[in-house]
């Protein structure tokens, strides 16, 4: 006998361990199967775009730290690039290298949290994420050396970085680069062919290539769907055209591909770091920039490949000391567009995994 049931609405979140922040999924369920899902957010909206309109160009840098707080260095970089484009400010060679080193370390740190919490959601409770937090701590130690901060760095400046790296930084970075490949191998030995992980993530939450392009997905989510698109290659900024690295892509666009792309990107970041460390020149770390920057009237869009996707800043200047308009193209907000399509038809237990595989940071979604 078949029992007929009515679909019913269940709110998952806003405060739920698997939502990585305050995020609500208003799901319509038929038994255990997801019929519909609507993301609801905004709980962490701080009006950063509006706040920035009343600050000087340099004063906006700490605000960018608080967007994606797991990748503050990348946010600093994207914003500084946009202001430099707007005002035509050059950056010294050494500062460019330091920026690349910081951005790639940040990518590894962000991916460690992404992969760790994804595996946590898969049911590998606490073990992998603690391994990965252990490694992330080493990166935070390096960041602390250069700027004294472990989360919101406020390290980059328009026209360079705030201060040169200390003497003990390069030996510590070298040690990290020697140790990290072994740690990545360790994760692979633990998880790559793990039965449970494969069963739970292979073929789950597929984002087809066409849909990924149409919904403006970016970052690892985009590349896992088979699109070889990385802004470091497609539209090289800073000095990325000088480094050799590959762009890992997935084939199916499922949760497993997204997890693999992140692991492989960490290995590529290590390659870039090694090259950048070898080529690091001596010299100034900051060009001569006035305290109050007054860019000419106009607008600029600066974008980078942040750990979570394409992070862009659209700035409009009216030749005053504050931006007339400050807009953030937040990658994780736009990556959520396809979330419903990835979830419908799967079960509640898969919803947690699919959501975890996107890697969102509410500070950036809500701004």
């Amino acid at each position: 006998m078949v029992i007929k049931t009515e679909p019913f609405v269940v709110n998952i979140g806003p405060a739920h361990p698997s939502t990585h922040g305050v995020f609500r999924m208003r799901t319509t369920l038929d038994g255990e199967v997801i019929v519909d899902m609507e993301p609801v957010f905004g709980y962490l909206h701080r009006g950063i775009e509006k706040l920035a309109e009343e600050r000087t160009y340099t004063g906006c840098i700490p605000l960018t730290d608080r967007l994606d707080y797991l990748a503050s260095m990348s946010n600093n970089l994207a914003y500084c690039l946009a202001v430099e484009k707007l005002a035509g400010i050059p950056v010294p060679e050494r500062a460019e290298y330091i920026r690349v080193i910081m951005a790639e370390l940040q990518r590894i740190a962000s991916h460690l949290i992404a992969v760790g919490s994804f595996l946590n959601d898969c049911g590998a409770f606490m073990t992998p994420i603690l391994y990965m937090i252990r490694e992330r701590e080493k990166i935070l130690d390096l960041f602390e050396m250069v700027c004294g901060q472990r989360l919101t760095y406020n390290y980059m400046r328009v026209g360079g970085v705030s201060q040169d790296i200390p003497d003990e930084f390069l030996p510590a970075l070298d040690k990290f680069l020697k140790e990290m490949p072994g740690w990545i191998d360790e994760y692979d030995r633990l998880l790559k062919e793990n039965e449970i992980l494969l069963a739970r993530s292979k073929g789950v939450g597929i984002l087809p290539r066409e849909l990924a392009v149409n919904t403006s997905a970016s970052g690892p989510v985009f590349r896992a769907s088979g699109v070889k698109w990385d802004i470091r290659r497609a539209d090289p900024y800073s000095i990325y055209d000088r480094f050799e690295f590959d762009i890992p892509t997935g084939s199916v666009g499922d949760c497993y591909d997204r997890y693999r792309v992140r692991i492989e990107e960490m290995q590529q970041s290590l390659r870039i770091l090694k090259q950048a460390m070898e080529q690091l020149p001596k010299g100034e770390v900051r060009s001569d920039v006035p305290h109050l920057i007054r860019p000419p009237v106009g607008e600029a869009y600066g974008h980078i490949e942040a750990p979570k996707g394409e992070l862009g800043f659209y700035l409009v200047s009216d030749n005053s000391i504050a931006p007339y308009r400050f807009h953030v193209r937040a990658p994780t907000l736009i990556n959520l567009t396809a979330l419903r399509d990835m979830m419908v038809g799967w079960k509640v237990a898969d919803l947690i995994i699919i959501f975890g595989s996107i890697d969102i940071c509410m500070g950036e979604v809500d701004r």
Partner: protein, 148 residues
């Protein structure tokens, strides 16, 4: 390297296809009439050689006399980009056509502009506030918005 297509060249092509639709064009962007924007967007997306299949970002800027909405378009296929702008006038109910039917990536971004800038998008499937709550008064990113 992503090639930024010249706004003037594209404007000349658009002028041929949709006469009177381009208001002005510069080296890095072009401004089109809001009435013909949806047709132009569809043309930019589907024409071979242009193939703007990827909508990178949408932003709105408040210039008091009008709102300017800026579309950053990219073609993944050809690796080129274009900036298209359109304007809407009036502060009570400025409206623009929605491009969600072409690029679904516009969905949340148009809702965000509706929420914070107060521009309505005709044809959007689910136009409601996104980061602020229903019942919030005003649109904070407008230049004349005051809390006190």
């Amino acid at each position: 390297m992503t090639v930024a297509l010249s706004g003037e060249e594209i404007a000349a092509r658009l002028e041929e296809k949709f006469p009177g639709s381009v208001v002005e064009s510069g080296a890095d962007s072009l401004l089109v009439k809001s009435g013909s924007w949806l047709e132009i967007a569809s043309y930019l997306k589907t024409t071979a050689g242009l193939d703007f299949d990827y909508l990178t970002a949408i932003t709105a800027v408040d210039y008091y006399d009008y709102f300017e909405v800026v579309y950053q378009l990219t073609s993944i296929k050809h690796n080129h980009s274009l900036v298209v702008k359109t304007r809407c006038y009036g502060r009570d109910n400025p409206t623009l056509p929605s491009v969600v039917s072409l690029w679904r990536g516009a969905d949340f971004q148009e809702r965000e502009i509706y929420d914070l800038m107060g521009i309505s998008f005709d044809g959007h499937p689910n136009l409601k506030r996104i980061v602020l709550w229903e019942g919030f008064e005003g649109h904070p990113l407008r230049k004349d918005y005051r809390r006190w």
